[in-house]
């Protein structure tokens, strides 16, 4: 332990430096974007990245933190996209209320379907939510107001880099604070051992449904941003493949690591742009990657650990207590690492 004291200061400085560099870069990007000095194409990629970050982190709340393997996220995204698009186009509502309405609609549906389905466990839940996503899609196809399979367009081009950036910050703040709150702790207890949690008086279904509704809300918001960025939506954009794409980000980043989801969302959005020349092989590479990650690191790239913990933040040692937020100013993402006692050896090893 003595040895690590000096080591710790060193790492703390490095962390501060990294954080500073990150904030500086972010400020610079904002300034350039504001001045219109960033290429339209790059800005577009950044926007999509932000939307994917919201989708991945909100799904991670359900899958990684609540431990409920739900994979119909694209369905909730679709609800948010359609509701907000209908509101801005037909009712000429301003963007912010429309986004929130879209999110609320998705949360409401999440609540409605979560209450019955979250009693299911594991594989059953996976299939049920996959099916739900599909049912939502089929309903949209059959509703007269949505334009059916031909899609819906005509919404004002509200979404820009700043909107998405703001939404990402709000999402990360809300999610990370939720996890550190008392309901958040209850949620982690449900994940670790549902039976034990129930025994000590945690109303497990209530917290699972809560997490599901919150996750669905942000998926709906992301859908609204998506709709007003692309300016054309049709039900096929929100199919099972989209759900799996989001799931892939969560899994790659690590179930139970918000920063992991952020990194994975950034990587998986950027990767196809670099692979443009091999467009045909893209999905093959994707799926092979998914299998490989699972075989080599079944808990994802970052496992249940946040990035700064990998960077040597020992203040959140394996004592299980949250410790102080560390230097994680940006979004305040610090989350308690999994108490050492419950981690499998592989995950603990990942924290060096």
């Amino acid at each position: 332990m003595d040895r690590s004291a000096k080591h710790n200061t060193w790492w703390r400085w490095l962390r501060f430096a990294l954080l500073g560099a990150g904030l500086l870069l972010l400020a610079a990007v904002n300034l350039w974007a504001y001045q219109g000095r960033i290429d339209f194409y790059i800005l577009g990629i950044l926007t999509v990245m932000g939307i994917n970050i919201i989708l991945a982190t909100s799904l991670n709340l359900i899958n990684g933190f609540a431990g409920q393997f739900a994979i119909g996220h694209a369905g909730f995204m679709a609800i948010g996209a359609y509701v907000s698009a209908l509101l801005t186009t037909l009712r000429s509502l301003p963007f912010l209320p429309a986004l929130i309405a879209g999110g609320l609609a998705a949360a409401l549906v999440g609540l409605g379907v979560g209450i019955p389905t979250l009693r299911l466990r594991g594989d059953y839940l996976a299939i049920a939510t996959l099916g739900l996503g599909e049912i939502i899609r089929v309903i949209i196809v059959n509703l007269p107001i949505t334009g059916g399979a031909f899609g819906f367009s005509g919404m004002p081009p509200y979404t820009n880099f700043f909107w998405v950036e703001g939404a990402v910050v709000v999402t990360l703040l809300v999610l990370s604070n939720f996890i550190r709150s008392s309901p958040g702790r209850a949620l982690l207890a449900v994940r670790e051992d549902e039976f034990a949690a129930e025994t000590v008086g945690v109303p497990t279904t209530y917290y699972k449904v809560l997490a599901f509704a919150i996750g669905s809300f942000f998926a709906g918001v992301a859908g609204g941003l998506f709709a007003h960025y692309l300016l054309f939506i049709d039900p096929s954009q929100f199919g099972i493949l989209k759900s799996i794409e989001i799931l892939m980000m969560v899994v790659l980043g690590g179930l139970g690591s918000f920063s992991g989801s952020v990194v994975a969302a950034v990587l998986l959005t950027a990767l196809p742009e670099f692979l443009r020349g091999f467009a045909d092989y893209r999905m093959v590479i994707y799926s092979a990657l998914l299998i490989l990650v699972m075989l080599l690191r079944p808990s994802g790239l970052f496992g249940q650990v946040e990035i700064w913990q990998l960077l040597g933040d020992r203040t959140n040692g394996p004592g299980g207590l949250p410790g102080k937020p560390g230097g994680s100013g940006r979004g305040g993402l610090a989350m308690p690492d999994k108490a050492g006692a419950t981690g499998s050896p592989r995950e603990v090893a990942g924290q060096w």
Partner: protein
């Protein structure tokens, strides 16, 4: 009334195809407690193997069927070996995600190698229609139903009358205890994949004959629906998979005929959610069994 009966006949032929796929799901779930998402794509592989056997080698129905079953069995064996066996002791979610990965890989390799556009399945059985009272039945439907029945009887024989089948049932009952009794669990699991994949391939060839077109993405939806069928009948139960498959097939055909074809893909999932809420163990499942 005649219309309903007619749709019932169509539903039973579609349902027996679902039942064949569902059997693979249910058996794998029985021994491994894993939803093998790639199962639907093994069915696609089977359909294409049958296609090539018929076009490239010019084989007839039966040899093509056997060839397809053989190829798919090999696929099942390799998939289990490469993707699932290393994860035997990993969290179950990891195995589930790997299964999704294998499914995506097979589909996209299919698109890459076989091209995405649908192909016309060769006419292995010349179409003949018969009028039975008010009903119209064609010989392809009869072949589908007959083949399914024969295969299911064969499966029933293997599972209940052979040593391997006995071992399969033991592993499904309690994997650890069977290992202690000297059963080679890995071999039993591999054998289960072989059996299930072969049945899926048979379903693939039958679908090719029935709908006369196949494509690399044909496995995804039927795969999910067959899983629903397995859950409906009671997952892990072989008669349950048969019953569930028939029920899903009939329900789907009835909805398409009397409501709208655009609701086709939602039927199975609506049934699934209802069954999970009302009787999660399925029609034939024991009620006492609570999944932990």
């Amino acid at each position: 009334m005649a219309e309903v009966l007619q749709q019932l006949v169509n539903g039973i032929s579609l349902g027996s195809i679902y039942a064949l796929i569902a059997l693979g799901y249910t058996m794998v779930y029985g021994v491994l407690k894993l939803i093998n998402f790639a199962h639907g794509d093994v069915y696609m592989v089977g359909a294409f193997a049958g296609f090539f056997a018929a076009t490239a080698f010019g084989w007839g129905f039966l040899p093509a069927l056997c060839f397809a079953m053989l190829v798919a069995a090999l696929f099942g064996l390799v998939i289990e070996r490469v993707a699932y066996r290393p994860l035997r002791n990993a969290p179950r979610i990891a195995a589930l995600i790997t299964a999704i990965g294998v499914s995506l890989l097979l589909e996209n390799l299919g698109i890459l190698i076989l091209r995405p556009d649908p192909r016309a399945f060769p006419e292995l059985i010349r179409l003949e229609t018969y009028q039975v009272g008010p009903l119209i039945v064609n010989n392809r439907q009869l072949v589908i139903i007959a083949t399914s029945v024969v295969l299911m009887m064969l499966l029933q024989f293997i599972v209940t009358r052979t040593r391997m089948g006995k071992a399969m049932r033991a592993v499904a009952e309690d994997t650890e205890a069977s290992r202690l009794m000297g059963i080679n669990v890995d071999r039993v699991i591999a054998f289960t994949f072989v059996l299930g994949s072969a049945l899926a391939a048979a379903a693939g060839v039958l679908v090719g004959i029935y709908y006369t077109r196949i494509d690399p993405l044909m496995g995804f939806m039927p795969g999910l629906k067959a899983f629903v069928a397995a859950v409906l009948g009671g997952i892990g139960l072989i008669p349950g998979a048969m019953l569930g498959g028939l029920a899903i097939g009939v329900a789907e055909v009835l909805v398409v005929a009397f409501i709208s074809s655009s609701w086709k893909d939602a039927v199975a999932f609506a049934i699934l959610i209802m069954i999970l809420l009302l009787k999660p163990t399925g029609i034939l499942g024991k009620t006492a069994e609570e999944k932990a």
